[in-house]
């Protein structure tokens, strides 16, 4: 393959330039590198965007977490079946209010240094340090004093983490936290070597050379906005278990059509589809795979006293006409989405089985007569002749606008309710949500960790993400009860109580559980899709001939 750098162009004269062009047309190399190579165990993919933040202590977005999950490792990790397994920690012991981790001695950084307990102490203190301003600091709140430190009320050294020796880590918990172990597999809790961090100054993770890796792979080449190449990390303690030699993100583009074209051309081996590209993928007769992302989407109401949406009857009237099945089939159209029924998605685990099997959500069938009656009662309670137009705040994505228009049409024809759609860009929508400048807002929630509490505390009165300011002492009580218990039975019973309140009080209008459709090269085996953490996970993938 001819390898020209664009810089060569400046020194190129015109005739040469055209001869070159002709040459390229005439001798284009047949069957260049393809998306997968079984002999070399390489896979090529595209990223939707440049990873904005590869500093694991502050990363919050999916692409950064995807990369970090491959190149770094926490105390625990997920194995090829998706079960929690030992990572840097070889074994551990948990009690109600503490956790002890014994680190393996062969876990190494990419510079050859051993990964020690001190690296965790440094990283965790850094995460909760208010100066770091990490938006995921709350992940560590189960650790003793983390919240107080994060709010600037206690010194960093008060954090409940201590390195007893180089390979023994002692954690003191703020309260019993049944899911604490799962948090240690999440990027925010990964270790960082203090010496290296200080040496990079303020540029930690700005480039591939500015990060130390301890994961199955390391970034060997990162050209900003162009490509990011991960190679198998020879220093990784479990490198025999890793088959892939190279995960090469050769392309970075948010354009789903461009990514589909690259897939058709066999330049990438995996791509996610959307409503538009779905049909083209069908026409190409690709095998389309489905996956439920774990996020729930719903309409959230504003409970501030000056807003009429604080009226329960009004919310119940809307609940009584909404048909989640119709919504999923007629509005979303792409396969994979599930009709919304609860704040808790169907994959969340209960005591032994999925929570929603142990505690089924109440499914409301649309009932127009009941809805009309509820609306009359709402008007009477509010002392209004007619309900004034409600403001529905949505983001400016085409799907969000389409969904809003469906709601607008549906409520107008069925209940003669007027909706005013307020379409805003990402940051403006957030500002309006936070300031309470809406009646109803199109919102969604994705899990931050693999426990029911990641959804459960969303409408607790103290939760800053509760942007409609829902405030119900009974809801708060149940959340506290579940938070302060390690007993799954007690926790799930409390969550079932929450589920009932969410439905009866019509706190939100669940619309759908998000599903995605994607294409995957048939020769890739063992690529794992996951609702929390690094998704998709190529760590244990391999290419079959």
């Amino acid at each position: 393959m001819l390898d020209f750098d664009f810089r060569d162009l400046e020194s190129m004269t015109m005739p040469k330039f055209f001869i070159l062009t002709l040459f390229l047309f005439a001798f284009s190399n047949p069957i260049l590198a393809q998306s997968v190579d079984a002999a070399a165990q390489t896979v090529k993919i595209a990223l939707a965007q440049e990873p904005p933040q590869l500093n694991n202590m502050t990363a919050t977005d999916q692409v950064s977490i995807f990369v970090l999950g491959h190149v770094m490792e926490g105390l625990t990790r997920y194995d090829r079946r998706g079960n929690l397994a030992p990572g840097v920690a070889e074994r551990w012991a948990l009690t109600e209010d503490s956790a002890t981790f014994w680190l393996r001695k062969d876990a190494k950084w990419s510079n050859g240094d051993p990964v020690t307990a001190h690296d965790f102490v440094f990283a965790w203190r850094n995460v909760v340090d208010p100066k770091t301003a990490s938006q995921y600091a709350f992940i560590l709140y189960p650790v003793k004093n983390a919240e107080a430190i994060n709010q600037g009320n206690k010194p960093l050294t008060d954090l409940g983490i201590e390195a007893i020796d180089d390979f023994t880590l002692q954690i003191t918990l703020e309260r019993p936290t049944g899911y604490f172990l799962k948090l240690t597999a999440f990027v925010t809790t990964f270790p960082v070597q203090e010496k290296f961090y200080r040496a990079t100054g303020s540029a930690y993770a700005a480039d591939s050379k500015d990060i130390l890796y301890n994961g199955a792979f390391r970034i060997s080449d990162w050209v900003h906005s162009a490509s990011l190449k991960m190679e198998k990390n020879p220093n990784y303690w479990n490198s025999e278990a890793i088959s892939l030699e190279v995960i090469d993100a050769e392309y970075i583009t948010a354009d789903t059509r461009a990514r589909l074209n690259l897939f058709i051309d066999d330049k990438i081996a995996y791509t996610q589809l959307d409503g538009e590209t779905y049909k083209d993928a069908l026409n190409n007769q690709f095998r389309i795979k489905k996956f439920v992302t774990g996020s729930v989407y719903f309409l959230e109401y504003n409970y501030r006293p000056e807003r009429i949406t604080h009226n329960k009857k009004l919310r119940q009237a809307i609940q009584a006409v909404f048909d989640a099945d119709e919504f999923v089939n007629k509005v979303l159209q792409t396969p994979g989405n599930l009709p919304g029924a609860s704040l808790f998605p169907s994959w969340i685990m209960g005591v032994n089985k999925p929570f929603r099997q142990e505690y089924p959500a109440v499914v409301t069938r649309p009932d127009l007569a009941k809805a009309k009656q509820l609306l009359q009662e709402a008007k009477a309670e509010l002392g209004l002749e007619a309900i004034p137009p409600l403001i529905l705040l949505v983001s400016d994505s085409p799907t969000a606008t389409k969904q809003a228009e469906y709601m607008q049409g549906m409520l107008k024809t069925k209940l003669d309710l007027d909706l005013k759609i307020d379409v805003q860009t990402f940051k403006q929508r957030l500002a309006k949500m936070t300031n309470g400048d809406f009646d109803i807002v199109g919102a969604g929630w994705g899990p931050d960790f693999d426990d029911i509490m990641t959804f459960g505390d969303l409408f607790a009165s103290w939760n800053l993400n509760n942007r409609g300011r829902y405030n119900n002492p009974e809801y708060d009580r149940l959340v506290r009860k579940a938070m302060n218990s390690n007993d799954p039975e007690v926790r799930m019973a409390a969550m079932a109580g929450l589920q009932t309140i969410v439905h009866e009080d019509a706190i939100i209008l669940p619309m759908y559980e998000q599903g995605v459709i994607y294409l995957q090269h048939p020769k890739i085996k063992g690529m794992r899709r996951t609702v929390v953490g690094s998704d998709p996970d190529f760590t244990y993938a391999r290419i079959v001939p």
């Binding site: 393959m1 001819l2 390898d3 020209f4 750098d5 664009f6 810089r7 060569d8 162009l9 390229l24 047309f25 284009s28 190399n29 047949p30 069957i31 260049l32 595209a46 440049e50 904005p52 933040q53 502050t58 919050t60 208010p130 100066k131 770091t132 301003a133 990490s134 938006q135 994060n150 709010q151 540029a203 930690y204 700005a206 050209v223 900003h224 906005s225 162009a226 490509s227 050769e250 392309y251 583009t253 354009d255 059509r257 461009a258 074209n261 690259l262 058709i264 051309d265 330049k267 860009t425 990402f426 940051k427 403006q428 957030l430 500002a431 936070t434 939760n463 800053l464 993400n465 942007r467």
Partner: protein
Amino acid sequence: MLKYTLGRILSGLVTIWFIATATFLAMHAVPGDPLMNEKATTPEIRENLARKYGLDKPIVEQYVIYLGNMVQGDFGISFTQQNRKVNDIIQDHFPVSAALGILAITFAALGGILWGALTALYRNQLPDIIIMFLVILGISVPSFVFAALGQLLLVNINQWFNISFLPVAGWGTFAHMIVPSLVLGLGTMALLTRLMRSSMLEIVNEDFIRTARAKGLSPSRIFFQHQLRNAILPVVTVLGPQIAAITTGGFVVELVFAIPGLGRYFVQAVQQLDYTVIMGTTVFYGAFLVFMVILVDIIYGFIDPRVRLK
């Protein structure tokens, strides 16, 4: 001449200052909090972020600090890529946009001059009609349509022949540049074709062409030596601003062909309210455009003394 040049540079600097100030004001007038993210943060964290980016200071002070840093050539660090300097972003990605732009303008200029001359030569005949139809298409169809079509065509060609004829997207080799730059240059090519055609037609009726014909010169000699050389001048005039427009306006093409150019940062920064990147890229592009215009003005000052006297 020196006075003229200095005057142009001075007015250029005023223009850049104006661009910087207007962008600063407009950016702060846009509702929304640049430090806000999907996950809500505590007021303490919000304050610490604000301090990090200097947003805790009064707006006038922010403006003074910002102007001071700008004069020293420091645009600060990005809000979204938290450890990356805006200067590095410009340094890394502008050359990519520039390389693509230069190739696009080369295609556009060569194509425009060739097609323009042809249409003038075959005025009101079939080639003229066909080319002018394509020109109108080129001007009116936006580049994202051409970009998507161009890529689709490549995929199909590669599929039909079962070879990798040209890469579908990506960056790194010359082959990656061909189709994106053609797409990027199409609009300008169409514009230049029209310009070239009308300027050719004007010249056909000039006295010196008639004289050349009367002297019995061969038609090809008249075409190349007299018509083409004179008709090209107005095309050169618009080339300056067009170069600036093409090297800065490739956002869609960069997105579709996965090219790591600066255009992506320029557009995404606005969507994400990334203050420092908005300021850095806007001022940089503004300065670049001003520079190209001044360059054309100065060159014109040399070519045509009448411009200087005005």
